[in-house]
Symmetry: C2
Subunit: 189 residues, 2 copies
């Protein structure tokens, strides 16, 4: 039985926890201010600007674990780009800060509502997962599928750049009311 620790208490934390729990795995919710990490998979379900503080609090405990970055590092001051270098990604920045962890990018292209309902329009919600460790990607993908969603391996962690571009585009379309927060991009196999 896998235990997944989720750091954060917002809509995304709850939605991801719901998927994991629906698949039969154990979910541990942790606050930003510390605690003992039980899970072998740890989801950083906080906004990107809060990641540094979370890593300062939990970093040592994350060694040897799979750490899932779900962030979209949108520059909300301009809404015209990201706050990470354009040839990089939040996931790459986090991976550099956690050299003893296996960092995966996932859940940043799925709105909370589509994780909760399992649907984007008529299509089953798909979680795109990027990372350099095939076993970790497969394990996370298995948890997602057990929870009733689709999971697709999006390639190496370098593809986090593209996943974050997709996440930003989707957020910008929703903010402009050109898609709804219950819709967005569906993945059709």
């Amino acid at each position: 039985m896998t235990t997944v620790s989720i750091i954060g208490n917002g809509n995304m934390a709850k939605a991801i926890g719901g998927v994991v729990a629906a698949g039969g795995s154990t979910v541990q919710y942790l606050g930003r201010d510390g605690g003992t990490v039980d899970g072998s998979i740890v989801v950083l379900a906080v906004p990107y600007p809060e990641v540094d503080a979370v890593l300062a609090t939990y970093g040592a405990q994350l060694a040897g674990k799979a750490v899932v970055d779900i962030t979209n590092p949108v520059d909300f001051a301009t809404f015209d780009g990201l706050t990470v270098p354009s040839d990089s990604s939040a996931a790459a920045v986090i991976a550099a800060a956690l050299p003893e962890s296996t960092v995966l990018k996932a859940f940043n292209t799925t709105f909370a509502a589509t994780l909760a309902t399992g649907k984007v329009g008529a299509e089953t919600t798909t979680v795109l997962i990027a990372g350099d460790d095939d076993a970790a990607k497969a394990e996370l993908g298995g948890l997602v599928r057990a929870g009733g969603l689709n999971a697709v391996d999006a390639g190496s962690l370098r593809r986090a750049r593209e996943l974050e571009a997709l996440g930003f585009l989707q957020i910008s379309l929703a903010a402009a009311e050109r898609v709804s927060w219950t819709g967005g991009f569906a993945v059709v196999a």
Copy 2:
């Protein structure tokens, strides 16, 4: 009656021409080696590496027209990134080369098959259009809708960076057989 000139003769040229013709507009197909551009909208339906040659041939005729860039400047040598600067886009490069034209980014996130069938899975195919000229975007969007597809304004031409990231991701997923060339990303309003 709008005339749309399409430069190129590949699958995408034919698929885009099919959409435009279905909407009742006139389509002119032009080869890479020259001809008289009749359309007020010109689609550069050639692979990105051929754009320079097309601009050398047709550039002067494109002044005052809306020029639609559909390219995905994937680095096919590495399949691990794009050949344009990471903070830019093929559309931005083309716009810089055509200061007297109105450049739009469109059709790079829709596979030819989904333009032809009008469907991505159960969803109507959506053409995402980025550009800095609202009237030109609205005109192209109108042609797309008349042809039976959805069109969504994806924002300013700076969003071409994200559209090209999406296009690259979609191509990489299809090449890895994780989605099919008749599927990919659907947009759910």
